[in-house]
Symmetry: D2
Subunit: 305 residues, 4 copies
């Protein structure tokens, strides 16, 4: 192990758990205005983007995360044309959005231009030239500021943000206030989807049920799902807030039809069957969601430790 490799990437998953991955190559290591950035090739994981020591996505399994993040919400919208993405520096969220032939414009707002430029250069398999797609609008600005100053509205808003760490750049975006702002920029049938952190039996309670609870205060439909992402060392949760359409209740037949109509192909995880699996939560998560009482506001923030 340690014998066959001499360079290792260590990620602290929790105070009691460290994951060591062999480093095959080190492409970049530096600090932008907002965060520490590393682009590494890790054994078994391929090229990885690491921000502030946390793996954001790995070449070998980012499809698990990005397909799960994008397609349940876009499928639930009858005709997603305008899509808003907050974060998503690698361009892989954008890549998945553009698979839907119905999409006319995808506006991605990521505050950190340097990170996006590094991803453009070092992660070609992530973005697959999505940044050059004529449907793409790329803006480097604070997401809140952007939304406050636009009158454009969207069919789907995708919040692909770093975890809410105390003092981190994304913590204030996991609040009722910001989510209400996003809602105000959604069209009539609009949906919002966001990554909502780890949801293993040992750590799901940190933020996931509270994010669901907060979204439930704003939207008539709030739905949770999960997918397992190896490079995140556990299952990952997502919450959808929807004005009209349920994603959880979509039928296999409908999804299959939309796959054809929207000319979607090239997926590695998401199918009409696995869609059902994403929403079929284990008992401990269903319970946690039911029992949760916390609502995340700027005055009562919740952080991941």
């Amino acid at each position: 192990m340690v014998e066959s490799h001499s360079q290792w990437f260590a990620e602290t998953i929790s105070p009691d758990l460290i994951q060591l991955s062999s480093i095959k190559a080190s492409y970049y290591s530096g600090t932008t205005r907002y965060q520490k950035v590393e682009v590494l090739e890790l054994g078994g994981f391929g090229r990885c983007l690491v921000l502030d020591g946390k793996t954001q996505s790995a070449e070998s399994d980012e499809f698990m995360y990005h397909e799960a993040l994008v397609h349940p919400a876009l499928m639930a919208h009858p005709n997603p044309a305008n899509v808003f993405i907050a974060g998503g520096g690698e361009g892989a969220t954008l890549r998945e959005v553009l698979r839907h032939d119905t999409v006319v414009n995808a506006t991605m707002v990521d505050i950190d231009k340097e990170v996006v430029d590094l991803c453009k250069q070092y992660l070609p398999n992530h973005h697959q030239n999505s940044f050059e797609n004529p449907k793409t609008t790329l803006i480097h600005q604070d997401a809140r500021q952007f939304l406050e100053n636009t009158t454009t509205t969207y069919d789907v808003a995708i919040l692909d943000l770093p975890d809410p760490l105390e003092g981190g750049p994304a913590a204030s975006l996991y609040t009722q206030g910001f989510l209400d702002l996003v809602k105000s920029r959604l069209n009539e049938n609009g949906l919002l989807v966001m990554q909502s952190g780890a949801c293993a039996p040992t750590n799901y309670h940190e933020v996931f049920p509270a994010i669901h609870n907060t979204i439930e205060t704003l939207f008539p439909i709030a739905e949770c799902y999960q997918v397992y992402v190896p490079s995140f060392a556990g299952p990952w949760s997502f919450v959808i807030g929807s004005k009209t359409h349920s994603s959880a209740r979509l039928e296999e037949k409908y999804i299959k039809g939309e796959f054809a109509r929207r000319k979607i192909n090239g997926l590695q995880m998401y199918t009409e069957t696995s869609h059902i699996g994403l929403f079929a939560l284990p008992q401990y998560l269903t319970e946690a969601i039911k029992l949760e009482e916390r609502i995340i506001t700027e005055l009562t923030p919740i952080y991941i430790v």
Copy 2:
């Protein structure tokens, strides 16, 4: 991290991946006639049984594995009365089997008496006194030898075996020959279920589809499912071989009814909803199963590296 704890348990998940967990207490460390045994309390995972350096089950999440191993097969049998378990030293598989009120006899055959005795002593939350249940028959013998010499037949056979490591004690039990022997000891509506190794995007190809393929040569119905187990550092796969009944196609309503009829309670993961999720595989696994051509025999064995 390393600062807050000084003792760490290191498990080599693959040549490129090592998982470090803090050691809170060390209850036992020794070697039986068959294997190296450690009973440790790990930070975040609780009491763990470790055989030959591999975590077999952790107090905090063994329910994910054991509920997934037992209930899909038992639910698919209309009235499981006699159940056979190979392996399962911790007694947690036994515990789950005994939750079904229909079960009259559960025969557990584990070759390593010393391991079972250590589990009895150190893992009370795993077995919850299942070994003392009057329905339990506990035998310390080689599973193959036991089955060759019995005329008893069973409704469900559960193979809760260590991974097929080259030179390891379980490798010869992952073969067409042994599985055919198990089949010959099943009643008319009988089912067999076995754990079939890790199934993350990076390692599912090692044995899982080949085990499915092998079972498909023996049974009219062969079905795959998976569940994520944090202490195994990834999703875990299972294969069912069934003579008559499908588990994958069970309906929520039926499962809910059986929950009541069989007086099952106390589960943390498995519900009628999560049953559906277990079988809703991602595209990459469905494909892998379709494309697999290997059949595991004693002459063409397959090992986990």
Copy 3:
């Protein structure tokens, strides 16, 4: 490596250096009134006493440290009869002192009775029953308090203390004030010796030269030496403060004679030749000692980070 062992002890030597040793057995793990205590058997190092996560001494190489701590000072005194030891819980410093036939009384003051009791029980090769020697007086009290309240005086005082960590129990004993108190309890030809921390090229500057400088303000003779201790992951320094006799200038012939006269035997490191080697410092330490200007007082303390 990580493959052949599953349990590892991790010691943070510096923010940039971690030493991992395999754990062969774990004898004790707990917390006394003063500190966290572990007694471990480490691969290659044998039984080790670990306080607050730092290895205090290892069975396989504690002789390097303890022989170096004790004999240079005792040899430099023409007839050491009464010896004072502060700290030294394992009993190995005591063991070395008692090798000198001239010693009539060895008074050891260690504040932590629980640690000493654990050492008595678990580290027989360290103390070799020195605590039962009729020449031994063992007292559990704060060293400063003991010296303030005694009128007894000593020929040699040995300060075998934990490193001066900020907030740690020993920091206030590395000050001019305390060292002056020790000096006041020394007889006419008396010497004091203390361990003064790591002295590798990368970390010698932390406290070692400052301790020498501080002792030089109190004693006419201040002398430094070092020895390499594998389980400390580097060379270790010591400072002698002496009223009359130089240890550095002792001649091989004299030491050889005293070995016979004092009936010393059983040593593994210290000889008349290696005595010379201890004091033959590399250029970078000689320079550092010359250039040092810091004096450690209670108002201007120095800590090891």
Copy 4:
């Protein structure tokens, strides 16, 4: 720790000991015709050359090793003019040789041109342009082949070779046969010096005393010494074989005089005082040398595990 850094270099010192150093930068990683090469900047150690996973020298403490390797032998020769170096790719051994004003020619034979070229590019503080010195002759050839085909003779031969690993490129150079070949190329007052592996209490017995014993069969004078090198995680041994002059018995006064006569300056470790310290071995090494009976020949090789 692991928190403040995400990239770590892991070196297996023994099956029971792993040293982790933080990686500050990764300059090169590749494989030459002979070996795996990494050039890394490690926290606390500076720029390091790593061959086949083993640290060969670190910017922060290579002076400990290289000054100890070169000066004791060169000082013992009354007028070293022609010096032969086998290995020494970093150019630091060469740098130390060239400090002696008496040296007219330094011939360095290192088989691996690629490694030397990488050192020229990435390790300027190691070689300090020694390769460009007009007294230097640099040859890329097998050392044995070179010596067999030259009639040139040398005053001092320095064997700066990788450890004798089974199957490694240097193992056959640690034999009586090769050392006799080196001896045959030495002038009348000639000396040979070689690094002879780790010499901590836990591992000195592997090869060090056997190398001394082997050299003693060839030279009238065979002398051992050691120095501690932090980045090697322990003390390191050297053996001198000399035709006429003793290094161990050089007097401080003579060394001081030669320092002036040979216009040596810029040293960080070696002085007339530390020279004495190098040879003042601890009891356990003196004993081990006395008791050693192995002689290393091509038929009875000895490897480091």
